[in-house]
Each structure stands twice: as C-alpha cells, then as structure tokens.
C-alpha cells in the first residue's frame, strides 16, 4: 500500500487539433508528496492537471490513481476515450480539484456546497455530512459563513469554501489549478495559509501555481514544464536554488 504511488503518469500526450500541448509526460506522486508544477503560460501545466481526473482526455499515455489505471479505449477519430464511465466517476470522487475560478455552485449555500458531494456522490448520511462539513468550514475559517451564498463572499472566502468542499470527500490526492490566480492580491495570503496547513498534514497534492515562494516553501518536489515536456524537476531547493536549464533560470528570474 505504502509503495503504490498515489498518481502515476506514463508518457502522456495531449493534442488539441494540430496543437501538441503535452509531449510525453511521465510523473509519479507518492503518498504525501506535494508536487508543484510550474512553467510559463501555455506550457501545458493546467492541461496536465486536468488530464489526471480526465477533464481532458489524453491523446495517448497512461494514468493510474492509487495503482488503478483508467480504462481507456481508442476513439474513432484518434486519441483515447473513456471506456468505463463508472470507474472514472468513482476515481474522480476521490480526487478533489480546486479551480482557479472556485466554481462553487451558486444556487447552494456554502454548507450545501460542502455536503453536496458526500451526500449525492459518496452516499454519506446527511447528519454526518453536515457535522463533518461544519468542522471543515471551521477549519478554513468560514464557520460563521456556512449559511450564506457564494455570490456574497470575497474571492478568498469562496476559494477557502472550495477547499473545504474538496476536503469533504477525504481525497486521495488534491489537485490545485492555479488556486490563487483569480484572487485580489490581498486575498492570496488567506488561501495559501489554508493550503500550507494541509501540506503540513502530508496530504498528497499536485499544485499548479505561479506563487514561486510558496511552491518553494511547501512543495516536496517541483516540476518545471516547458512546451509540453518536463524540462527539469527535483527538490525545491535545487530547482529554485540551482536551476540547470537556461529556460528555468530565465523563468525563475522573470517571475521573482
């Protein structure tokens, strides 16, 4: 069990029409790993993350979650398509994703957002789901906001609610897709500190981010993506302190 990687990606390719976005990515994240994925705009980092829960269908390659590979079949017009929808849905329910634009469900209160998936996907009892959700909302500092609607909250609060929504499914791994990019600068800190808390618990995370200082601080492993390939990867101190590739050097100096 301990030796089975939480997420294993082998030779992943993704192509939109004639545009090759991912050109053979292999990446392994073990239990408790916190992998930061960095890279310039258009480098494919969001696509890579979205392939992990099959929000994007890979063109070729293999992805296994907790040792279980997605069952895919060849699509008629090239590429892969989902062979077993049930399997994908079951795996997705255990891969919490935090989106750049929060994507809370605005017709439900914060609490209802958090209990939605436990009740309606995982089949948890309502009382239990509410009890857990209240704990989680307290944890992200939104205990007093549980009965309000997302539209009246700040971006930072919405993103913290979205994180609570992910925690409510007790995810095998959490996928963060630029969680602070849509936030006003003064709200970035509150979200990062919640993520930092989770990192301290050694939760498995994949984090696409532009917050380099944060990545250096919390990540156990940093992946630098450029033009659809992993150009360099390693522990944060090496990536940020002693970058080898000239592109990485340039990237770090340009965002620092």
């Amino acid at each position: 069990m301990a030796n089975v990687p939480a997420i294993e990606i082998r030779d992943l390719h993704k192509q939109f029409g004639s545009l090759k976005v991912l050109k053979g990515i292999s990446l392994t994240a073990c239990q408790g790993d916190i992998v930061a994925i960095i890279g310039g705009s258009g480098s494919g980092k969001s696509t890579l993350l979205r392939c992990i829960n099959l929000l994007e269908r890979p063109t070729s390659g293999e992805i296994a979650i907790q040792g279980e590979p997605y069952r895919m079949k060849d699509a008629r017009h090239g590429g892969l398509e989902i062979a077993d929808r049930r399997q994908v849905q079951r795996i997705r329910a255990h891969l919490g994703m935090v989106f750049q634009n929060f994507n809370l469900w605005p017709h439900r209160t914060v609490l209802e957002n958090v209990i939605e998936v436990p009740i309606h996907v995982l089949g948890m009892k309502r009382d239990e789901a509410i009890h857990r959700a209240e704990e989680l909302l307290n944890r992200v500092g939104l205990g007093s906001k549980k009965d309000i609607y997302p539209a009246v909250m700040s971006g930072g609060q919405q993103q913290r609610a979205a994180i609570a929504r992910v925690l409510a499914v007790d995810p095998l791994a959490m996928l963060f897709d630029e969680p602070t990019s849509a936030l006003d600068p003064e709200l970035v800190g509150e979200v990062l500190s919640v993520i930092r808390d989770l990192a301290a618990e050694h939760r498995t995370m994949l984090l696409v981010t532009h917050e380099m200082a944060f990545a250096r601080d919390v990540a156990t492993h940093v992946v630098f993506l450029r033009e659809g390939i992993i150009e360099e990867q390693g522990p944060p101190d090496q990536i940020f302190g002693d970058p080898r590739s000239p592109h990485l050097k340039q990237f770090i100096s340009s965002v620092a």
């Binding site: 891969l95 994703m97 989106f99 994507n103 469900w105 309606h120 539209a151």
Partner: protein, 275 residues
C-alpha cells in the same frame, strides 16, 4: 428611495428616530399617491353603477376560476414541454435540435389568436369527421371549447419558454458543470443537481414576465366560447348596457392577479442571491 427620509432628518432632526422607523409605505410621496388612489376608488364606487355586481358574482367567480385554470395549467404543462425544447436546442442531436428550433420559431412567429382558431375551428372540425373519435370517450372533451384553449395556450407558452430555457441552459457557466463532473457526478447527477436548477434559477426573472404575459393572453380563449373572466364580463356588458364599470372591474382583477404573481415570483428569485 431613502432621499425623503434623509431630507426629513436633516430639516427636522428632533424627529429623526421616528422618521427612520417609518415603514416604506408611509413615505410622503407614497402617502400622496395612496390618497389619490383612494379618492379615485371612492369616486368610482360612489359615482358609478355597481348594482350588477352582486347578481353576477357567482358567474364572475366561475370565470375567474376558468382564467386561473387556463393560466396555471398552460404554464405548468408548457414549462414541462419547454425543458426538453430548450435542452434539445442546446445539446440535442441535430434532428432534435432542428425540430425544437423549428417548433419555437413557427409558434413564436405567428399570432396566438390565429393558432387558437386553427386548433379550435381546424382541429375541432377535423376530429368531428371521424366516427372513431366521435364515438370514443375523448369526444366528451373534444367537443368542448376549453381543451383547444388549453392546447393553444400551452403550445404558445412552451415555445416562448423553450427559447428562454435554451438561453438559460446554455448560459450556466461551464466551470460549475465541470466542478460537478470533477467530483465524480454522473451525467444525470450533473443535470439534476447543478445544470437544471441553475438554468431554472437563471430563467426565473424572464419566467415572471412570461407568466404575466400568459395571464394577459388568456382572454383570447373567450373568442372560442370558453367562459373565462373576460367572457363573463362581455356577457355582463351585453345584458346591462354598461361599458366602463365591467371593464374597470376587469382591470382591477387582472392587476391584482399580476401583483400576486409578481410578488410571489420575486420572492422565489430573491431566495438565492445572484452574482
């Protein structure tokens, strides 16, 4: 809205606490409007002839019921038809999409009165020619006028609301659906838990307007002898030779109905704050 209050509190500071506590209806300009309304009402009651009213009350009550039945049934059934119409236009395979778009375009592009007459005089006469239909249980209904009124109103509402639902389904932000998908919801769950309720919610403001319009379309059924409120009032006018009193009464009733509908639907809308 708060201007009269702030003004009053500036000029008469000693009474500020009381004034700010006044309910909205008692603001000065509203009191004046209310007075004008009351004067008009009293004048209408005193100076006009309302002696017919008690006599016709039972009939008017029946007419009102018919109006409400026409409205509620056509809105409910029409809305149920509008959902697949809207969905087919957004996500259907091309034959379905084509059919739904064609239906909405034809119905919205022709007068309701014409549709009503085509159903009643066209279909009604057609059905009568078939002995199989004449002898069946359905003839008990098909020889009456109201089923045709109901069908025409329903079809019309479905077409207008179908177009609204198309926009509402298409307008639900993709990210909200993607989040549902990313959490492992099946297509059906994504629809029932997120897409559908969000679309309805987005369509509510327009739905309010459509329902009011529908209320005001119901008198058309009087032209095919359905005894709705308008038809009863026409009868009153013909037997009493009064013109204004019955029509004013009609105005008052439709206004009240619209008011109740607006308040009720507004309440529904405001239960969830929008962006």
């Amino acid at each position: 809205m708060s201007d009269p209050q702030t003004l009053a509190s500036l000029t008469r500071p000693s009474r500020t606490p009381m004034l700010t506590k006044l309910p909205g209806l008692l603001e000065p300009h509203r009191i004046i409007l209310l007075l004008i309304f009351i004067v008009g009402l009293v004048a209408a009651i005193q100076l006009m002839d309302w002696s017919w009213l008690p006599r016709y009350l039972p009939k008017l009550w029946e007419g009102l019921q018919m109006t409400l039945i026409m409205l509620v049934s056509s809105v409910v059934v029409g809305f149920l038809i509008a959902l697949p119409l809207g969905l087919a236009q957004v996500k259907g395979a091309w034959p379905l999409r084509w059919l739904a778009t064609g239906f909405c375009t034809v119905i919205r592009g022709t007068p309701l009165l014409l549709q009503l007459w085509l159903f009643y005089f066209g279909l009604g006469a057609l059905f009568g020619q078939f002995p199989e239909i004449r002898d069946s249980w359905a003839w008990d209904y098909l020889r009456q006028a109201w089923p045709y009124g109901f069908i025409a109103l329903t079809v019309s509402f479905a077409a207008y609301q179908g177009e609204v639902m198309r926009g509402a389904f298409a307008g639900v932000p993709h990210g909200e659906l993607e989040a549902a998908k990313a959490f492992g919801m099946s297509r059906r769950k994504v629809f029932s838990r997120v897409w559908f309720p969000r679309a309805v919610h987005r369509a509510l403001p327009t739905l309010t307007g459509e329902i009011i319009l529908q209320l005001k379309s119901t008198p058309l059924v009087a032209t095919i002898t359905v005894m709705d409120l308008y038809a009863v009032i026409t009868q009153v006018r013909q037997t009493t030779y009064l013109t204004y009193e019955p029509l004013l009464f009609l105005v008052a009733v439709y206004l009240c109905l619209s008011g109740v509908l607006i308040v009720g639907l507004r309440w529904l809308e405001n239960r969830v704050p929008q962006h």
